[in-house]
């Protein structure tokens, strides 16, 4: 962005990042106490902690990752630093009273890893540049390598059928000339990284590569000038070409993954049209928008901040946030979110949240956080990789020394083969490549994963606890009957009920709020009981509105058997009697029955937990073929059930709507929240489903999880198996260097390509349900007012 280029004169490239305005763009206050309390903004600012995301260049192996992390963590004032291998991004938090971001960046840079803060579009442009450089190096290696291969084939043929010595010598000299640009230009990254590693006393993936190339080149030069011995020019060229090829594919994958994440950064327009109090339209930077501002969003523009529509009505494409591509209608008073695109009419929006407070920004932060939590397997693999390189180096020197002492003819080529054939890259890439591709896939389907370990665990889950309202059912109630007792006035009952529920966001409250009222009362002393009901004082009388259990406990009235109709009931009572019974109906989500069946076929048990009364829960359960269900559960009872299953050694998954179920969700191994109404910053869930097609998305999540586990297993098996077989053969002198070059690059290519499959993975379940759901929607009339009949 052009804002960065306005660099004050006389400061170096790092000092400028200390400038508060610039720093505001990429870092934010960070609470040192605990992650869960970071929502208290005031506290966070006081302890001078800031956090930021840095893109670190030159990282080529999991080993470097650990080294950079360790180094940054050792800097005085740095609180925490975590580096993601797949994206090469460093999540950093530091104490501004001890150190400055410029000095941290300078130290990382001098260690050989230039770092830049991540913000709008910068990550992708840096990646694009390294991709270009890699393509250049790859192309040069390919062009010269082809010529070398032509000459080598002639030389091999000459060895077989005989060749005049003058031509042999000529061919060898030409190969030598041709290999020089390959080594000097194309192989540069290996040498740069190896030298950087060695200078800092560590051993990375590129050390054996650089060593192998150097030994092969030196041995070949000696052979050319002495006129005897083997030359390895063809192996050098092919090896460089193939490894660069594998890295090109891996970089391509990473660019794709970053693009999925980056869509949250680059989506907001840099400027917005602000409407001043005098109704003047002026273009201002999006950055300075604050709650209360009115902004004008023209057709085709992106909404710059979260807010409510204050003028106009239009359709908005919210696909970025929900994965649902059908635009939604938003009119006066409706909530709009930053990042959605206005596709129909111009709107005026009153900003409620801007900048980092928006839902979009919350999503972006959650996604990033998830990227930094390394899966368990990946942490283990990182350790193994650095040991692995050490072992390869020792095997190579053993082969060289023992071969030389025993006078074995092949010692040199065997040593080169060991150095080249071993492939720590495949090992290092096995899990991160797969995880990042699957997260990209999930995002495309409107699944927000804030904890990548959860996806791993999900595949082993054997007990699913599913909330009924809002999860298996749409959570949108329709009023069916109003049943008045004791000739209570209908109008009065409605007025009181609506006044009580006026500020509640519970689905039942929402259904009641739609009722027409003649007069709203001011309810005082409101108290709610989660999963029960609400009570308050109106005109000096206390009223209770809730389910049967709540009314019985609080007001002391029991429903007669005839009143317990099939449906969800909201009962209004005062201190003397039950006054009115609202019966409501909740719709089962399309595909829910099929999904439950799939879970059972997989051998998992399913328990439905609900705060609703028994008759409603039982009818939903029988429709979905769920045998294990619990009705009239309070959140505490739900939690007790999850905890007891957990204690029995079961891997538990809780799927809930994230409002009433927040504590329950935390109790399970894997927590999934339905994101329609969830506040992202308080939802404690590992996975949030933003897709309005909840059940297909859930089905997709499950199959994605099992696919991820499969791919990681395949990758690790391949990487370990390949090395275990290849290294002994190479050490025995049975693998010529050219074959080693092919084997090594192919094995890392296999791992990366295998992971790529996850990005495109489409679960048959999702496709099937999504199709039938789409069908449903077309024929379902939208927003019919629910008929209310009086008994």
């Amino acid at each position: 962005m052009n804002k960065i280029s306005s660099q004050p004169p006389g400061t170096d490239q790092f000092d400028v990042y200390d400038h508060p305005v610039l720093q505001q763009q990429f870092s934010k206050p960070y609470s040192s106490h605990s992650g869960s309390e970071s929502s208290i903004a005031g506290v966070a600012g006081e302890d001078n902690f800031m956090s930021a995301l840095l893109q670190v260049d030159n990282i080529k192996c999991a080993g470097c990752c650990g080294k950079v992390e360790k180094m940054v963590n050792a800097i005085d004032g740095v609180q925490n630093a975590e580096l993601n291998y797949t994206t090469h991004q460093l999540q950093l938090s530091w104490d501004t009273s001890c150190t400055q971001i410029s000095s941290i960046m300078r130290q990382i840079g001098t260690a050989g890893y230039p770092a830049h803060p991540v913000q709008t579009g910068l990550t992708s442009s840096i990646l694009e540049q390294s991709k270009k450089q890699l393509i250049r190096q790859f192309g040069v290696a390919g062009a010269f390598g082809m010529q070398i291969m032509v000459l080598s084939v002639s030389l091999y043929a000459g060895n077989w059928w005989g060749i005049e010595p003058v031509y042999e010598l000529f061919f060898r000299y030409l190969s030598l000339v041709l290999v020089i640009p390959v080594l000097l230009y194309s192989a540069q990254p290996f040498y740069v990284n190896a030298v950087n590693d060695l200078r800092h006393g560590r051993i990375g993936m590129d050390v054996p590569i650089a060593l192998g190339l150097s030994i092969a080149f030196c041995a070949s030069i000696v052979a050319v000038f002495n006129g005897v011995g083997e030359t390895y020019f063809d192996s050098i060229a092919m090896f460089v070409l193939l490894v660069l090829g594998a890295r090109l594919v891996e970089l391509g994958n990473r660019i794709k993954a970053t693009a999925v994440l980056g869509q949250y950064d680059s989506v907001l327009p840099p400027s917005a049209i602000q409407i001043s109090e005098t109704q003047n339209h002026q273009r201002v930077p999006t950055m300075i928008l604050k709650p209360g501002d009115n902004v004008f969003v023209d057709t085709g523009d992106t909404v710059p901040a979260d807010g409510t529509v204050s003028e106009g009505a239009s359709s908005l494409d919210e696909s970025l946030l929900t994965g649902e591509s059908v635009p939604v209608t938003r009119c006066n008073g409706d909530r709009v979110v930053a990042g959605s695109v206005n596709v129909e009419n111009p709107l005026v929006v009153t900003v409620t949240q801007a900048g980092s407070g928006t839902l979009l920004s919350g999503i972006a932060q959650l996604v990033r956080k998830a990227q930094f939590e390394k899966p368990r397997v990946s942490q283990l693999v990182e350790k193994i990789t650095s040991w692995f390189v050490l072992i390869v180096l020792s095997v190579a020197s053993l082969v060289a020394i023992s071969g030389y002492l025993n006078g074995a003819e092949q010692w040199l080529s065997a040593t080169i083969a060991v150095l080249i054939v071993s492939c720590p890259c495949a090992l290092a890439l096995a899990t991160p490549a797969a995880t990042s591709m699957s997260m990209g896939n999930a995002l495309k389907h409107g699944l927000l994963i804030s904890n990548s370990r959860a996806v791993e665990t999900l595949n082993q889950a054997d007990h699913f606890f599913v909330d009924k309202t809002g999860t298996l059912t749409t959570g949108e109630f329709e009023l069916q009957h109003i049943n008045l007792t004791d000739s209570y006035e209908r109008e009065r009952a409605i007025n009181i009920a609506v006044s009580l529920e006026n500020y509640s966001s519970h689905p039942i409250a929402k259904a009641l709020q739609k009722l027409e009222v003649t007069r709203t009362h001011d309810a005082q002393d409101l108290s709610t009981q989660a999963g029960g009901g609400i009570s308050g004082i109106i005109d000096g009388n206390r009223y209770y509105l809730g389910n049967a259990k709540y009314i019985q406990e609080q007001a002391g009235f029991t429903l007669s058997a005839t009143d317990r109709s099939n449906g969800t009931l909201a009962i209004l009572a005062d201190t003397t009697n039950i006054r009115c019974i609202f019966s409501l109906r909740d719709q089962i989500r399309p595909g829910a029955a099929h999904w439950i069946k799939t879970l059972k076929n997989k051998g998992a048990s399913v328990t439905m937990l609900s705060g609703d009364q028994d008759s409603v829960v039982a009818s939903v359960a029988s429709e979905l073929a769920i045998t294990d269900y619990a009705s009239a559960c309070s959140p505490a009872e739900k939690m007790a059930r999850v905890v007891s299953a957990r204690n029995q050694g079961e891997i538990t998954v809780m799927v809930g709507d994230g409002i009433n179920d927040a504590p329950v969700i935390g109790a399970a191994h894997v927590s999934i929240a339905i994101g329609e109404k969830v506040n992202l910053s308080t939802a404690n869930a590992d996975i949030v489903i933003m897709n309005p097609q909840t059940i297909p998305a859930l089905a997709h999540l499950l199959s994605l999880s099992s696919q991820l586990t499969r791919v990681i297993r395949q990758n690790l098996f391949w990487a370990l198996g390949y090395n275990a077989i290849a290294i002994p053969f190479a050490a025995a002198g049975l693998v010529p260097p050219w074959l080693a070059a092919i084997g090594m690059s192919l094995s890392s290519l296999v791992v990366v390509l295998n992971a790529t499959r996850l990005g495109q993975w489409k679960s048959p379940a999702f496709e099937a349900i999504a199709r039938s759901k789409a069908h449903h929607q077309i024929f379902k009339p939208a927003n019919l007012d629910s008929p209310v009949t009086e008994l």
Binding site: K132, I135, G139, A143, M146, Q147, V150, Y167, F170
Partner: protein
């Protein structure tokens, strides 16, 4: 076969030209989007006005 002494160096010159052309292509963003152009040619632009 003495002609080889002429032809092979010539082939090297040719490779250098190929590499030069390739580097020119990379530097002029010819490799930035390898998938887009293939799709773009299939997309009919019915309303020339909206092309910008």
């Amino acid at each position: 076969m003495e002609v080889l002494f002429l032809l092979l160096p010539l082939s090297i010159v040719l490779v250098v030209v190929i590499v030069a052309v390739f580097l020119w292509a990379v530097n002029h963003d010819q490799f930035d989007d390898l998938e887009g152009p293939a799709h773009r040619i299939l997309m009919d632009d019915d309303s020339p006005d909206s092309a910008d």
